[in-house]
Each structure stands twice: as structure tokens, then as C-alpha cells.
Amino acid sequence: MTAWFEDVLEFGNAIRNNDAMSGGIGPNYPIGTALEIYRNNYRGNLQGALGLAYPVIRQLVGDEFFRMMAIMHIESRPSKSGNLHDYGAELSKFLASFPNAQELPYLPEIAKLEWACHMAYFAADIEPIDIVLLASIAPENQDRLRFLLNPACRIVRSSFPIVDIWQAHQPGMPEDFLIDLDSGPQIALVNRRNDVVRVEALSLPESAWLEEIESGATLWDATAVVLENHPDFDLESHLVNWIEQEILVDFDHEAKEN
């Protein structure tokens, strides 16, 4: 290894693991003072990133608890990207085994939902679906269509009312809410339209259809699977709605190339 690399690795370990450092010089003050500034920046930048990605978790547990949780998270899960917006993908997993959060069993699922929102916020822009082309597809080809979901779109299943909890913590919502955890499980749909990240609750057949589509099923296969268990599933109104909401943003069909 090149000699200067060793200095760099030693410096990195001094910041992250509080190791000693021999190759550095701090002429006007002890080297420890310099390292403390770097350690502070390191933790502060990651804490800041977690705070921006998880505003609901932060409100739920309070600033002090959040800070402590963030410090422990940083200890156990280092950053892997120069883009701070990538940091914190595993907070849900971390919370599931975080002893101090065991009283709040819904936290990991809220974290999963917030990460989906965070990803949606930065997801690539889309072109709206070509509705004229879609509507002109010949009847004999309709059932073999495959739809593509918006890259911002995520479905988060939970055994708790995560959509209600998330909504209650958005800016401008009344502060005096009360949510009954036993009010039932919710399936959240995250999407972004006109730059606004939205979260809404899906019914079972809705989520089943979207998940079929997400996994690459054709229009008819997805619909048939859902109709089997939910005979009153209304494809017509859902299709129109999900295209309007930019949840279905493209389709894949031979007709398109012609």
C-alpha cells in the first residue's frame, strides 16, 4: 500500500473508532483537539442526515431520544456513500432490535415508511404516461400489457395504522390527535406527484394488484389474481385513478415500438 494511504486510513479510524493517530500534526493545539472537531463533524453530519430523513420518528420519540438513537445508529452502521441522502436506509432494522425502543413496536414500520418517502422525494423524474397511445391499443393486445410503476412508488405493509400515524405528524396537522394502535393494520402507498410526496392507505385488493404489476405481471394476470379473492375489484376506476395519480407511468407492449 502506498505510504500516504496509511495516513488516510489511520486518520479515518481515528475519526470513526476514536483510535490514536501518529501521522498528523496540529501545531497550535494538541492533535486531540483537531480530531475532536473531525469526530464532531462526522457525527453531526450523519445525525443531521437522519433527522432530515426521519422527521416523524423524531417527533414520536423526541429530540433527545432521537439524538441518542442516532449516535448508537452511527456506531453500528457506518456511512457507505458520499451522498448523505443515502444514509439511514437501515434505521428500520436498527430500531427493531434497539432495546430502548421496544415499547414502541410500530417504530420500525414508521421508519420503513419514512425511508420510502425519503426515496420518493429524490426519485428520478418521470414523463407522464402516453394516454393516447395507451387508449389506442387494440383489444386483442390489451390483456398482455405490462405497466410500470412510478420510480417514487413504494408499498409498505404494516400491522399498525402507519398511515394515520404518518399523516398526524405532517406540517399543519392538529397537535391534539389520539391514535388507537389497535385500529387495525394499514398498507401504505407512497408516491410523488407534482413534487409532493403523498402517503395514502390501500385496500387489500388494491395493494395486491399493484404488487402483481410491480413484479411484472401482465394486466390480465394481475387482474385475474385479484378478482379471484375480491370479485368486486373495480379495474376500470382504479386504472383511471392510478394513471391520473401518476402511479402507473409507462407501459410495455409491442404496439409501442410500432
Partner: protein
Amino acid sequence: MDRRHVLTAAFGSLLAMSLMSGNANAADKMNMEKCWGIAKAGHNDCSSNKSAHSCAGQATKNNDPMDFVAVPKGTCNKIAHGSLEPGKAG
């Protein structure tokens, strides 16, 4: 179930939608403009930001010895655990 019937109905609505699409786009553009600075209940504000990146050093100390707060003290006390007593953790 009647595959033809389901798909014909759905594509009938898509056709109607495609005939309206010019108007819909205009309405969307107006929404975009109005989006600035408003926070619709239940949606996050589209002007909100996630600017995690800075080239400045941290102004606040983030590595103070941990004054360990073991108990969450936030809005979690407004989420009642039906089978246990409400707000136990808060």
C-alpha cells in the same frame, strides 16, 4: 369472470381520459405553480427540503458525553396501545 368485459370497460374509460388529456395537463401545470409554499394537510410541503450537504464545519457540538435518555418523550404518548395502557412509553 369475463375478461373481455372487464378490459373493454377499463379501456373505454382510458379512451375518455385520453380525449380529456389536453385539459388535464393544463390543470396540472397550474397546480405546480400553486404548490410553492403551501402545505396541504396530510402531504408534505413541496417546498420542503432535505439539504443534508454542506461544506461547513459543524457549529454545534455533537459528541458531548451521552446524557442518556432511555425513554422516548415525544408524540408517542398520543398513540394508545389498545391492549396495554395508553401512552405507557411516553
